[in-house]
Structure formats: C-alpha cells, structure tokens
Amino acid sequence: MSNASVPKIDRFSLPDAGGHFGVYGGVYVPETLMTALQELEQAYEAAKNDPQFQAELKHHLKEFAGRPTELYFAERLTNHVGGAKIYLKREDLLHTGAHKINNALAQVLLARRMGKKRIIAETGAGQHGVATAAACAKFGLECVVYMGAVDMERQSLNVFRMRLMGAEVRAVDAGQKTLKEAVNEALRDWVTNVRNTHYVLGTAYGPHPYPKMVRDFHRVIGLEAKEQIRAREGRLPDELIACVGGGSNAIGLFFEFLEDTEIRMTGVEAGGRGIRRGEHAARFAGGRLGVLQGCKTFLLQDSDGQIEPTHSVSAGLDYAAVGPEHAFYHERGRIEFAYATDDEVLAAFQLCSRLEGIIPALESTHALAYALKRAKELPKEKIIIASLSGRGDKDVQQVQAMLAAKTGGK
C-alpha cells in the first residue's frame, strides 16, 4: 500500500499533557479520581526518568518474567500457506503466559514506589489478573481482581491460578458479566479506596495516564522485535499484525515502527459471529466516537449512546471500546484494522497447534488467523511479524467443548 497520504508521524509527541491523542483519549472520570490520576501521572513520569526504577524493572522483567522473548520463525505455518514468511513474537513464553506481565510488574513496582499497599485489577480472559496476582505475590501486596461471572466460567483455570497466588477474585454479576462490567466494578472500588489503593489497569485504555503508561510498559515488545528481525533477516519486516482488545500488545509491538511508514500495521479485532449488533467486538467495523470508562474513543453503542453488548470467543477481546491511541492512528491511516471471526480463530488455533506445536491464546489467534490470510496474499520474500501475545493453556477446555459441539459430540 502507499502511505503517501500519511502525514509525518512523531510517535513521542502524543499524548498531549491532558492525555489526548488528537480528539481521542483524555480524562473522563468522577472527580474523586482526578487527584489520584494526577498523582499517578507524576509518579510515573518520575519513575520513567529514574535510572534506579528502570534498572529494577529491567531486572525483574528478565529474572521473573523471562525477557527477552524469542522472535520465532513459524516455518511450517509459512510453508503451509506458501506466501510471506511468518514470524511470531513469543510473548506467550513469558511467565504467567502473556504479555500482560510487562505492564502488571511495572505498575506494581510503581505502586510500591507510591506507597500504595493495596492493588486492584480487572480482568477479562484472566491473563492480566494472573499477571497482577503474580506480581503482588512476589512483592507481598494485597490483590483484588474483578472478573465478570461469565468470564470466570469460561476461564476457570485462571481464576484458580489467581487464587493460588493469594489474590481475591470478585465475581461481577452486572450487565453482560464480562470485561466491561469488571472495569466498572474496579473503578467503583478505586473511587471508594483511592487513598490506599492503586488500580493496575490492564490495557492501553482508560483515563490518562493509563493509555500512555501501559503503552510504554509494553514498548519492550517492539524494541526487541526490531532488533531481532534485523539480526535475523538484515532488514525490517513488511507487516506487523496484532490482536486488539484494548490494544496493549498491539501498541507495544507497533510503537517502535510507527515512523517506519513503509511497514504496514494491522490490528485485528474480534469479528465474533459476524458484524451484527451484539455478535462481535469489532469497534472499527461497527462503532463510532464516544466516551466510556475514562476516555474518548471508538465504541460499540446505540443511537442514544448506550453501550451495546459484545461477543467474542475470546474473553480478552470481548470489549465495547478500543484504546485511544489506536483510534488516533486509525484515523490517520497509519494503523489498519481488520477482524477475525470465531470460526476463523478456531481453525487457526488448531492449525498452529498442529503445525508448530504452539497452542496460542484465543486472543492472539485473531492476529494469527489474519496473518495466515495476509501471508497467502504476499510473495515469499515478504516478512510478517505477528504478535503471539499469550499462550492458549487457559483456552483448551473451552475449545474442546466448542469442537465437541461442532462435531455433535463425536
């Protein structure tokens, strides 16, 4: 594609002091949280510029989380498709099973620095909850995780893992009982306990400074990938692909490449059962501008502004809104968005397991499903990096049930 129409990008120029990425982002929260967010921003900026904090974070990312992660050439998938080379950024190899630990560990370190003794988090698929629970266990902090009752059901293994590590998992029974309701409940807790509690928000979403801070904590994904692909191929990739719920693994991978405008970047949303009301979570396919849970961005909503129900096979992408930085680069034409349906994901999940011996998380499989499609369209000398943001151990029971249902239990 031609990027001739894309204006020059300065990736560090955003967000502005108020947390805005163009018209997106900002701070839309009850007054009670305003001061906490401002304190968080100050603490984060101070930590960012503190070599001691950075060294400590780097140390724990290596020794506890297992960085750097490999950039893996998926040879059999590549041969199977017969097109562009597919590389997988193996965030699934991190401790606790997903990229989420990058941010959870960093925010827990930040909370300690701020003197907060109590940690809360929301979780959808459970990966962010597990990562936060692990970081809290390691540093001896109290941890409460809010999770939709429906997600607790479909991700019961992760619920048990969190409890094993000493976290209290609180079921959220409101509304659709998934990620959005868990965020509401975490925000209610934070409003109530703001003086002693830090909210470890799990994606590049919410009020400023979260979208920026979470992005920064995941930048390591793209920094590593850039170095690794250069070492491996002697050049930069042609395309980057990542799944987008809130969008943290995607912005983490993309950020270092934003100014390399010859590289195409695609965020893959949850197409669910198709783009019909309540059947998907593809915000750029069915949404419009609105404000939810702290920021202005693309939302699935009705004509009055009520938030619409969503569906995805993957709990982590089953969310009505998308991170504001993604909305901005979508508008600028720098990041493109596609979606993968539940059926495409289920097929790619099995294919990757069988051909590579890697069981991907259902969330990450959205990126994979689209990468397979793109690789087929491209010649063999092209290079794609797809973010394998998490591993699928948590999903095998659900997939087993779905496959059994498809084959009539045979």
């Binding site: 900002g26 009670t32 305003m34 509401n184 109530t192 306990n193 609105g290 702290g294 004509s303 009520q306």
Partner: protein, 267 residues
C-alpha cells in the same frame, strides 16, 4: 432569576436547606416514574435530580445501578426521558437537574442534547464522568441555551482544583461527602462542615449541596445545618425497589418518605 436560583433563595429565606431528591428517570417504567416524581415533588422536594439511565453507571452503587437497569429494560430512551420531563412540567415548576454520564450527552452532539433537554424543561446538567478539564463543549452549549451546569467536588479534591471547578459551575456545586459510589450509609461523613466551608470560600455565591450516603432524617438535619442543599438518592430509590411487585404502592411510599425527609431540612 432561574428556577434553580429561586429554589435556593426561597430555602434561604425560610432558614433551611434545599431538599434535593434523586430518582432515576423511567424507574421502574415511564408511567410509574411520573407518579413517583409527582409523589416526591408534592412532598417538600425543592430540586429534582433525575438520573438518566445509562448502561455503565460507574459512579453509582448497586441501588442506582439496578434502578438504571430497570428503566432501560422498561424501554427508556433519550426521547422518553425528555417526554418524562415534559410530563412533569405539566404539574410542577420545580427545577430539574439531569444526573447523567457523558456519553449520553455526547452521542448525538453536545449542543443538540443540551438544547433538547432545555426545551423539555430541564434546568441543569450534572455529568458524573466529566471533569471541568474536558467540559469546554458542555459549558459552552449550556451557556448558549441557558442551562445551568453542576460540577462535583470530592473529599479528595485539593484546594488548587476548586477554582477550576467553581469556574465551570453555574447552577450549584455538588459535594460528594465521601469517597465511593452512591448508596445508603449508616453514618454521615464526619468532616462535612469543613468541606462546605472550604468550597464556599472559593465558590462565592454558588450554592453547595451535599450528597452520597445521606439516608435518614437525622442525617438530613445534620447536613442541612451546613449545606445549602441535601441530596437524598438511594433511600428514595429503595422505596421503588421494595414495591416492585405492587407498583401502585410506590408513589404512596415515596410520598411518605419524602415528607419525612422534608421535615429534616430546617435549621
């Protein structure tokens, strides 16, 4: 003088605080909601705060979340919320303030929403998740259409923010008496007199109302000694919740409850 200012002036002249009642528009259904509003308005309420039901009320406790859910399930839409206001205006001139979330105001254009609300008879707008830093468009639209703005001050609000908040407010200041969400509490927060004084020092002529967790007549009296208005929400909404199986009982229950609270606002 506008309806909001008149209500506070009248209360002041009677040496009492305003009784501000919160009900969710359309809870549990449009017709019952009209009779519920009438019941409180005929029993001493000075300002009606109408909650506009939203799918994701993140500043509300369970009582108000369920009220919003009932209203939405009964088919409340933006158009029906405006219809409710018009129907109230057939029998009452009590000031009405919308208690809402920003996406509902934003969805079809801020100015469009403010104009429609004003035409229906709404006097003020309180948007829970809209701090003054992001409120430029709302403040401008409200100025243009003579809608009063209400902004929140919280116990966590530092003095440095007070001028920013009070500059954006034209109707009154809503002091949230405790960290947390809406809901019934056993006790009123301890430091309300100091907080109200702190706000009044900056807010000049703006009335200051106090809400969140005020749920008995004794609470009302305690707060009325210091504030220009006292907000009762969940304690009223519970009258609806407790009579859902026999909806004709809702209005009488609310009337009795409101009359009791109204006795508490004197100084």
């Amino acid at each position: 003088m506008d309806r909001i200012a008149q209500a506070f002036a009248r209360a002041r002249s009677e040496n009492r605080a305003c009784f501000v009642a919160y009900l969710c528009a359309g809870d549990p259904d449009l017709e019952t909601s009209i009779s519920a509003c009438r019941a409180v308005l005929e029993n001493g309420v000075d300002v009606l705060e109408l909650g506009v039901p939203f799918s994701d009320p993140l500043a509300d406790g369970l009582t108000n979340q369920l009220a919003a859910q009932r209203a939405l399930e009964s088919g409340m839409t933006a158009a029906r919320v405006f219809e409710l206001v018009r129907r109230i205006r057939e029998f009452s001139q009590v000031p009405i303030v919308f208690y809402t979330y920003y996406n509902l105001v934003f969805a079809n254009g801020v100015e469009n929403y403010v104009r429609l609300a004003r035409e229906a008879g709404v006097d003020g707008l309180l948007t829970l998740d809209l701090p003054p830093e992001e409120a430029g468009e709302v403040v401008a639209a409200c100025g243009k259409h003579d809608m009063k703005t209400v902004f929140i001050v919280a116990p966590t609000t530092p003095n440095a923010r007070l001028p920013i908040i009070t500059a954006a407010a034209t109707g009154f200041i809503y002091y949230v008496s405790r960290e947390g969400v809406t809901g019934v509490r056993d006790q009123v927060a301890a430091n309300i007199p100091e907080a109200v004084a702190r706000i009044k020092a900056v807010a000049k002529n703006l009335p200051v109302v106090v809400g969140f967790g005020i749920s008995t007549r004794a609470h009302v009296t305690e707060v009325a000694a210091h504030a220009d208005g006292v907000v009762i929400g969940s304690a009223l909404v519970n009258c609806i919740r407790d009579n859902l199986s026999q909806r004709e009982r809702i209005a009488p229950a609310l009337a009795a409850k409101a009359a009791d609270f109204a006795l508490g606002v004197g100084r």
